[in-house]
């Protein structure tokens, strides 16, 4: 079973994502900010991480930087999920090493497809 980590501080969005990925046979982990995500990553090795950018404490960009430093997580895919849709934000996200940058609001169906594509 594939593992997915969802990192977002909006409980209602997390709820939708959790439901959808569980239904698609993922084992789902949830974090409400960057620090919590990094804590989970100490113990778990997900195949893919969905990462919100604007979060309290440690934001998405900073979280990714930490992830990239961890050798164990080298093969882990990362998708940014953000309401920040400016070109410079997207560029920054991708340059940090994310595999995809998805702009909010997004289609759940399409996101699932994109996750599958990445994991092929």
């Amino acid at each position: 079973m594939r593992k997915i980590l969802i990192v977002d501080d909006e409980p209602n969005i997390v709820m939708s994502l959790e439901y959808t990925f569980k239904k698609n046979n993922f084992e789902v982990f949830i974090a409400r900010d960057g620090q919590e995500a990094l804590d989970i990553l100490q113990k778990q090795l997900p195949d893919i991480i969905i990462l919100d950018v604007m979060m309290p404490m440690v934001d998405g960009f900073a979280t990714l930087e930490q992830i990239k430093k961890d050798e164990r997580l080298q093969n882990c895919k990362v998708i940014f999920l953000s309401a920040k849709n400016k070109e410079k934000d997207i560029e920054k996200g991708l340059s940090l090493g994310a595999n995809l940058y998805v702009v909010k609001p997004f289609s759940v169906k399409k996101l699932v497809e994109q996750v599958h594509d990445l994991l092929q």
Partner: protein, 903 residues
């Protein structure tokens, strides 16, 4: 005290002064020599041996009449801020080095007037110097208990004279340019001023408190002496008029005495030093006079009927009690007072003598064709010899005439002679019509009257009151009696001479000036002197001249005095100042004035003019033309000033524009950030709604319970979206000023209570206790109740949200003072992080410590609160406290103050 012992002390004392002068000369730019205090104390060269010894004598013999000499200056000194500043400016820009230069320049560079002023000064001051020598000699013999000897080689004064002459001629003629500052001399004089005051105070305190039992004791003992009361009251009108004239006389003296002009004008380094001098110098004079009276009457009591010279009481008293060291200190103080006067006066007089008499009338011709080294040497030597000659002349007067008169009377005669310069001098400052012929006539007539009413009787001998000349007038014409001229019989000789000489001096100066116009040069300088403040930065512009002149010719003259290098440097500075092409060969008016100025310090104004005139060809200008040119140059200056003003204004405006632009840029950045945050905040609920709707739409076999939860999500997120939009619009209304407040008189306790009621459910849910202190207080204020409820609601919601999870507590309190009503809302939660205090009221600022659970907030609540409170002219802030929890405070203007401003 033996003569040898005292001489050794003297030699030591003088060598210390030499050392001080030497040290100061080397550090002429250090703040130790260049400060307002040195300047102020150097002015005290005014207090000579006459003050030191003579005023005691005068107080002992005739009571209060010693005072006007100090009262006059103290009265006039406050005007220094204006008058002295003006004289200093005129002297600085024109490189003036003496009062003779000052007066002769104003009256058209007149060689004759300069020489006349010089002679008046020498005539008045040399006997005065002689008097200082006499005081040194007399007091020396009192201290050593010896008799003066007629053999000049046995007389100490001879050697003192020689030492002083050497000192003054060495330090007083360091620079060829006489307008240069002589820091060494000035510092030495300032130190002497301090010493003589200190020594005088010491003897004063000794006499008052050790010999006698305080002021009261002296007064009581003295009041039984003969004539005490008569001497110490100003009796009647004629006495007052005497006083008045003596005051006027000393007011003039403080400006006109060559040594005062030298220390206060020529040696002034900074105009701002006057500010210190105007309080310090009068204070110095006052201190000096505190003990005159006790010493004088103390002496009268002690030496009653012994016929001692009362001038020397300050020495006799300590000697009488065998206090040798005190006697020597007093002697040194008097010595200081005498020599500083001699040194400064001889330097000032020697400069006048060389620059206004010897050079223009004597060896100007030989200067014209010599080299610079020779010229400088010759000028310096002439001044050195001048100083020597003057001191020797004074010595001769002292020796030959043996001066029988007391210190005061000769000092006052000198004052009267010098006062003859007053009309021409003050006319130069304030009256443009004053002319050279007027000045010359005034001074000559005034001096003649002085001679008749004062000098002649003194020469014949005032002691011989039986003299027919004094008793009955020449040829028995009683109207011409020298002490009662034209029947004026109620004034003392000095005020009498002051009255007649100055009256006739002034009248002839005014009458001649008004009747005969001066030449254009006088008129030109009148303009520059009277309106000095206008011309201070570019006075060369105000000089009117027409004719042909070549720069090279003038340059050659300059080189003879300044040397090649300095001439070149001066020219470069001039060209830079007026933006002149260095290839231009003809000289204009500005250059001629500039060249004259360069020479003035070296050879005086009159000679400078003569030398420059010899190499240029001047066209005659009529007076009306001068006035026209001056008018134009004045206009030019005004236009120039306007241009600078306009350019300054433009600078200011451009600065304002720059600031405004920066503000706009900042606002733009803020707006961008705001939009960014707004879109993010709007997209977040939309994202949640979209995701939930998509799942509901696509997924048919979703369990019923989950379906409901997704629908519930959609509803709450829609509400959130709506609230957000409301708040953004609210804020926008406040920020653009479209939001109106409906102020009415309300009871703030009531408003808070009803708001608390509305959030009761939330409070109950979280099990929070709420405490409302002073809830029954009736505190009224003007506010928009609906808006204030919004604020309180917001603060309460935050308090509820952040108060401790268990045992949560919220405290509300209201206080009131004369200005404002203050509401505090405190919760016992985690408190506010230091980093949040600044930004907490910013739009969309959400603290980072909310990570436990995302609170339901828009990030706009506090920003709106701030707007509302500030629109009520109140303040809102978070308080930094040491106790746990967070406290938010807002204030509203007090009901009373609001009401009174509304009316």
């Amino acid at each position: 005290m033996s003569s040898i012992g005292l001489l050794i002390i003297l030699a030591l004392y003088v060598s210390i002064l030499f050392y001080v002068a030497h040290w100061a000369e080397k550090r002429s730019h250090s703040k130790w020599t260049n400060n307002p205090y040195i300047y102020s104390f150097s002015l005290a060269v005014y207090c000579t041996a006459w003050t030191y010894y003579g005023s005691i004598g005068l107080a002992a013999n005739s009571g209060l009449s010693y005072l006007p000499i100090y009262v006059g200056p103290i009265i006039i000194i406050p005007t220094w801020m204006i008058i002295l500043k003006r004289i200093i400016r005129i002297s600085r820009v024109n490189k003036i080095s003496s009062i003779a230069d000052f007066i002769s320049l104003r009256y058209g560079n007149s060689r004759f007037l300069g020489a006349l002023v010089t002679m008046i000064c020498i005539f008045g001051i040399v006997p005065y110097i002689a008097l200082q020598l006499k005081s040194i000699s007399d007091t020396f013999h009192i201290v050593t208990k010896t008799q003066s000897s007629s053999n000049i080689f046995n007389d100490t004064t001879t050697y003192v004279c020689l030492a002083l002459a050497l000192f003054a001629s060495y330090y007083g003629t360091r620079y060829v340019d006489a307008s240069e500052k002589k820091r060494g001399i000035v510092t030495a004089v300032a130190i002497e001023s301090i010493l003589k005051l200190v020594f005088f105070l010491i003897i004063g305190i000794y006499v008052t408190y050790f010999v006698f039992d305080g002021f009261g004791d002296i007064y009581n003992q003295a009041s039984v002496l003969e004539n005490f009361h008569k001497k110490n009251t100003i009796g009647g009108l004629s006495e007052s008029i005497n006083w008045f004239f003596l005051c006027v006389l000393s007011m003039f003296a403080i400006f006109l005495l060559p040594r005062q002009f030298h220390t206060s004008i020529i040696e002034n380094n900074k105009e701002t030093h006057i500010r210190t001098a105007i309080w310090l110098f009068p204070l110095y004079l006052l201190l000096f006079n505190v003990f005159v009276f006790p010493i004088a009457w103390g002496g009268n009591i002690l030496f009653q009927g012994k016929g001692f010279n009362s001038d020397t009481y300050s020495l006799l008293i300590p000697q009488f009690y065998n206090k040798n060291y005190l006697t020597v200190l007093v002697f040194l103080g008097g010595f200081s007072a005498a020599i500083s006067m001699i040194i400064v006066s001889s330097i000032a007089l020697a400069t006048m003598l060389s620059n206004n008499l010897l050079i223009p009338y004597g060896f100007i011709g030989s200067l014209e064709n010599s080299s610079q080294e020779k010229n400088s040497k010759r000028i310096l030597n002439s001044r050195k010899i001048g100083i020597f000659l003057l001191i020797i002349l004074a010595y001769a007067i002292y020796k030959i005439f043996a001066l029988e008169y007391s210190l005061v009377s000769i000092g006052l005669v000198a004052f009267v002679i010098i006062a003859q310069l007053a009309p021409a001098f003050f006319g130069a400052l304030f009256w443009k019509r004053g002319s050279k012929n007027g000045a010359v006539t005034g001074i000559i007539i005034g001096f003649a009257i002085c001679c008749y009413t004062l000098l002649a009787p003194y020469a014949i001998g005032i002691t011989k009151s039986t003299s027919l000349f004094i008793q009955e007038g020449p040829w028995g014409i009683s109207l011409l009696k020298p002490f009662q001229l034209f029947g004026l019989d109620y004034l003392d000789p000095i005020p009498h001479a002051v009255f007649w000489s100055l009256l006739l001096n002034m009248m002839s100066y005014a009458a001649i000036s008004v009747s005969f116009r001066g030449n254009y040069r006088e008129r030109n300088y009148a303009e520059m002197f009277v309106d000095i403040d206008k011309y201070i930065t570019n006075h060369e512009n105000a000089f009117v001249w027409k004719g042909t002149a070549y720069i090279t010719d003038i340059q050659k003259v300059l080189q003879r005095f300044l040397g090649e290098e300095r001439t070149k440097r001066a020219l470069t500075i001039f060209n830079l100042k007026y933006n002149i092409d260095k290839n231009i060969t003809t000289a204009d008016a500005r250059f001629i004035k500039f060249a004259e100025n360069l020479l003035t310090g070296h050879i005086g104004t009159a000679s400078a003019k003569i030398l420059i005139s010899s190499v240029i060809k001047e066209d005659k200008i009529s007076l009306p033309e001068v006035l026209r040119i001056l008018e134009e140059s004045k206009e030019n200056i005004i236009i120039n000033k306007k241009l600078t003003d306009t350019s300054n204004e433009l600078k200011q405006i451009s600065e304002q524009l720059k600031n405004a632009n920066q503000e706009l840029i900042d606002k733009d950045i803020q707006k961008d950030e705001f939009l960014d945050t707004v879109t993010h905040e709007l997209r977040t609920p939309i994202t949640a709604i979209r995701a939930a709707s998509e799942i509901l739409h696509d997924d048919e076999d979703i369990p019923e319970e989950l379906k409901k939860r997704f629908l519930q999500n959609i509803i709450s997120e829609s509400d959130r979206l709506n609230r957000l939009i409301d708040k953004i619009l609210d804020l926008e209304k406040f920020e653009t000023g479209k939001q109106k407040l409906y102020l009415s008189k309300n009871n703030i306790s009531k408003t808070i209570k009803s708001t608390v009621e509305s959030v009761k459910q939330l409070i109950l849910n979280k099990n929070i206790t709420i405490e409302f202190l002073q809830s029954n207080l009736e505190i009224k204020a003007f506010y928009d109740e609906e808006r204030l409820i919004q604020v309180i609601h917001n603060l309460l919601s935050n308090a509820i949200k952040f108060s401790a999870e268990s045992d949560g507590k919220i405290t509300i309190s209201i206080t009131e003072n004369a200005q404002e009503v203050e509401v505090q809302i405190h919760n016992n939660g985690k408190g506010i992080k230091e980093e949040d205090f600044e930004a907490i009221f910013d739009k969309f600022y959400q603290s980072r410590n909310q990570n436990v659970k995302k609170p339901i907030g828009s990030g706009l609540g506090l920003a709106i609160c701030k707007q509302i409170i500030e629109h009520h002219k109140g303040k809102i802030w978070a308080k930094r406290t040491t106790e746990t929890g967070a406290t938010f405070i807002f204030t509203l203007p007090n009901y009373n103050t609001t009401e009174s401003t509304e009316r």
